[in-house]
């Protein structure tokens, strides 16, 4: 894009933009006066987005690192882990022969923390926290979030949650070890296991802070999208990223409070002697006094959040993918309205399928039928989206950038993982597959890897908007191919193990006759996991290297994209646009339009006479 075109954009916004008397409200840039208010307690959505992203990267390294340790245990159960002693200390016990073994209790803690960290801290806060903050104000044409102050608090509550969880990793009794779902009685009785005491207390405190963060953020995102859109930005002109982030925020506002209810009852059971979830339990040979509780009640409350939560994770990734696919295929997204209705349908259905996580917990089979039907219906909007992504690619003028590769990879992962969801959604098949590696494979591909792919696509694509520089493309492509091939190498074989009935969460399998023949496969998975982990470290290096040494962005709109964030100055300013806000005249997907002189027409460009005539004609 030429600099003369850039000049045209600036002039256009100055002359035809929406005047919200910006500078009359802000005398000078008083918000960015010093280091602390600029970089630490910042109220600027662009800085807060980076804070979420970097905190998310920190947790991703820890969460993935934990998986490497327990994969080593599963792949090589007889080999010495003594070399991990400096890191894990007393959790590695060394026998007389000098062979170091991972403490089984700590193995469970690692599995539990891996799930908690990746689900909540990385793929919820790190994903929607980052991109809702970065993209919502930019793409709807707002100066900032509706409440920049609450937005800042949202990050710092997340930080507090992170801090508490991090401290719990170093407890002498270990972090919580009863699974990321924290089912009672393991989570309700401090004496149930070593991690159920202080570890579980900190887990509950941390996640309660986390929910506060999600609610403050979510309320802000919804309010901003519905109230602060610039002139001309009707709902039907919003990019799909904004639609996806809007529905994500609504899901969070409606489902996280239910989790908190469940947590409150759990806290009362732990500390006040109530029996909401406990009944007739023996611990260490002693009968407890608790009578009349129901552990299933917790599962209902947990999964009422838990199922929308998986869409809280995947919807932002879908939105990012839609945008990246369209920009780099130089084509309008296929079926824009169908995409929006699919997002809304998925959001609605996500609230009435939670019991499909509980088919084996003794719920009434007739009630299960209801949940089976709605679970399978989710396949419809999901398939609509997949069809539209593939149709967007069809005959596109595709640019295989790192962002585009990850977006295409997202579609592949979402198909592979989504198909196995249809198996698991059937309560009859679930009898065999429940709690096996088939489930592990399913959710890792469809909401783990796929969500990471959407996130990577977003990071590679919007990195210039965040840091004014590009990430290294060569490293990006190596990162993509290693992750793409490696992720399938890790999770594809798990389907076969699951169909054979190999249960998840076990410490070792070589002592079971039925599963010992999977030893080779387990080694293969572990080696693949180590290679994929190394590829992620390459990404982390690329990310930080590029912040300071990446190729500089010299034009405002390097990808030739239509959305408003690419009309703002390269050097970001508080308030996003100097002077007027851009006025929106068209939807976000005018790519390769017939008769246009370029293959993209940005949203702030007025309709031509020909377009006006066509519009009247319709």
């Amino acid at each position: 894009m030429s600099s003369s075109h850039q000049h045209e954009t600036d002039v256009l916004i100055r002359e035809q933009g929406y005047d919200d008397h910006f500078h009359e409200h802000h005398h000078g840039d008083k918000f960015q006066s010093n280091f602390i208010t600029h970089y630490i307690f910042s109220q600027d959505h662009k800085i807060i987005a980076r804070q979420f992203l970097i905190t998310g990267i920190f947790w991703a390294i820890i969460g993935a690192g934990m998986s490497i340790i327990f994969r080593l245990q599963l792949g090589f159960p007889d080999d010495s882990l003594a070399w991990l002693k400096p890191l894990l200390g007393k959790w590695i016990t060394i026998n007389d022969a000098g062979v170091g073994a991972l403490n089984p209790e700590f193995y469970y803690a690692l599995v539990t923390m891996h799930g908690t960290i990746i689900v909540f801290f990385v793929l919820t806060a790190g994903l929607s926290g980052t991109f809702a903050n970065l993209l919502i104000p930019f793409q709807v044409g707002a100066r900032d979030m509706a409440s920049p102050f609450l937005n800042m608090l949202s990050y710092w509550f997340f930080f507090l949650a992170s801090l508490v969880m991090f401290i719990s990793l170093f407890l002498s009794t270990g972090p919580f070890a009863g699974g990321w779902t924290a089912y009672p009685p393991l989570s309700a009785l401090p004496e149930a296991s070593s991690g159920s005491g202080a570890g579980m207390t900190l887990w509950l405190v941390s996640l309660t802070f986390f929910v506060v963060s999600v609610l403050l953020g979510g309320i802000n995102y919804v309010t901003t999208v519905l109230n602060l859109r610039t002139k001309g930005m009707s709902l039907w002109r919003m990019p799909l990223t904004v639609w996806a982030l809007l529905v994500t925020a609504i899901l969070g506002i409606l489902s996280f409070p239910v989790l908190v209810s469940g947590f409150f009852l759990l806290m009362f059971d732990r500390g006040m002697g109530t029996s909401f979830y406990l009944s007739e339990i023996f611990v260490n040979g002693h009968a407890l006094e608790n009578v009349g509780g129901s552990p299933i009640l917790y599962q209902h409350l947990f999964w009422f959040l838990g199922h929308p939560e998986v869409y809280i994770i995947i919807l932002p990734a879908m939105g990012l993918t839609s945008e990246v696919l369209s920009v780099h295929a130089r084509k309008p997204i296929f079926g824009y309205k169908a995409m929006v209705y699919s997002i809304l349908a998925i959001g609605f259905l996500s609230f009435i399928v939670w019991a499909h996580h509980m088919f084996m917990s003794g719920v009434n089979p007739f009630i299960s039928n209801f949940f089976v039907v709605f679970t399978l219906i989710i396949a419809v909007p999901s398939a609509v989206k997949v069809f539209n992504w593939i149709s967007t690619l069809y005959k596109g003028n595709i640019r295989f950038t790192s962002a585009m590769l990850f977006a295409i990879g997202f579609v592949s992962m979402f198909i592979s993982g989504g198909l196995t969801g249809i198996f698991l959604g059937n309560s009859a098949i679930d009898i065999q597959l429940h709690d096996t590696y088939f489930v592990v494979a399913h959710f890792h591909i469809v909401m783990g890897i796929a969500a990471f792919f959407g996130m990577f696509a977003g990071v590679y694509h919007w990195f210039p908007r965040m840091y004014g520089r590009f990430m290294n493309e060569t490293m990006g492509r190596i990162h993509f191919w290693m992750t793409m091939v490696g992720a399938y190498a890790i999770f594809w074989p798990m389907h076969y193990m699951g169909m054979a009935g190999v249960p998840r969460r076990y410490y070792r399998f070589d002592t079971f006759d039925a599963f010992s023949h999977f030893a080779g496969l387990n080694q293969f998975i572990t080696i693949a996991a180590i290679i994929v982990f190394a590829a992620q470290l390459l990404f982390v290096f690329n990310f930080f290297y590029s912040i300071w040494y990446g190729r500089k962005m010299t034009t405002q709109n390097p990808w030739g994209a239509n959305t408003l964030e690419w009309t703002a100055p390269i050097e970001p300013i508080h308030g996003n646009w100097p002077g007027n806000l851009p006025t929106v005249h068209r939807w976000a997907y005018d790519y390769s339009k017939e008769g246009a002189d370029k293959d993209f027409i940005q949203q702030h460009l007025p309709l031509t006479d020909k377009e006006k005539a066509e519009a009247e004609h319709h």
Binding site: T223, G232, W587, Y589
Partner: protein, 195 residues
């Protein structure tokens, strides 16, 4: 294709539509509704499973409900007075509302004591535990409202009386939240009464 989406003329939307903080407050109240909705659903599910303690609600909860309803009326009166230049009435009804709010919380506390006195303990049968937890979490939300009322009270007595649009909207936030916790309690009270 795009013309279907961005058809012709530009919609001239008012940039000053809904008051954003009020919208945010309503979104937050929506999330509180989900929380109490889930607690009362859990109540129904657990009750249906049997082994459930039935007891008569202490009378003091009827009186506290009346106090809460009256406080909504006084706050609305204060808001009306604020908008209609009745400064004295505004400054009379606002503190009255705050006092009623505090009385409500104290009465709830006495209600829990009365429950305990008739043998319904927090750590007993879940039938009683649910009552304590639901009314307790509600009381926590009322205490949040008392803080908001305190801020409104400081505005009323520290700042010169000026019924500007900005101050009206701030007051409106307090008003909506207070009505919300009021009607939320009415729902919970009736729910606990008829269950």
């Amino acid at each position: 294709m795009s013309t279907l989406i961005s058809s012709g003329t530009i919609e001239q939307k008012s940039r000053k539509g809904f008051y954003a903080p009020l919208f945010a407050l309503w979104a937050g109240m929506g999330s509180i509704v989900m929380m109490f909705g889930s607690l009362t659903s859990a109540y129904i599910v657990r009750q249906g499973a049997g082994n459930w303690l039935e007891f008569r609600m202490p009378d003091i909860f009827f009186y506290s409900t009346v106090v809460m309803l009256v406080s909504s009326v006084t706050l609305h009166g204060s808001y009306w007075a604020f908008r209609n230049n009745r400064e004295m009435l505004y400054k009379l009804l606002l503190p009255l509302t705050l006092v009623l709010g505090i009385i409500f919380v104290i009465m709830q506390y006495q209600g829990w004591n009365a429950l305990y006195a008739i043998g319904v303990a927090l750590d007993g049968n879940p039938g009683g535990s649910f009552f304590y937890v639901i009314s307790g979490i509600h009381a926590a939300h009322v205490i949040g409202g008392i803080f908001a009322l305190t801020v409104a009270l400081l505005h009323a007595f520290m700042l010169p009386y000026k019924p500007t649009e900005k101050r009206r909207r701030r007051f409106q936030l307090v008003l909506h939240y207070w009505h919300f916790v009021d009607f939320l309690w009415l729902y919970l009270f009736l729910f606990l009464l008829i269950q």
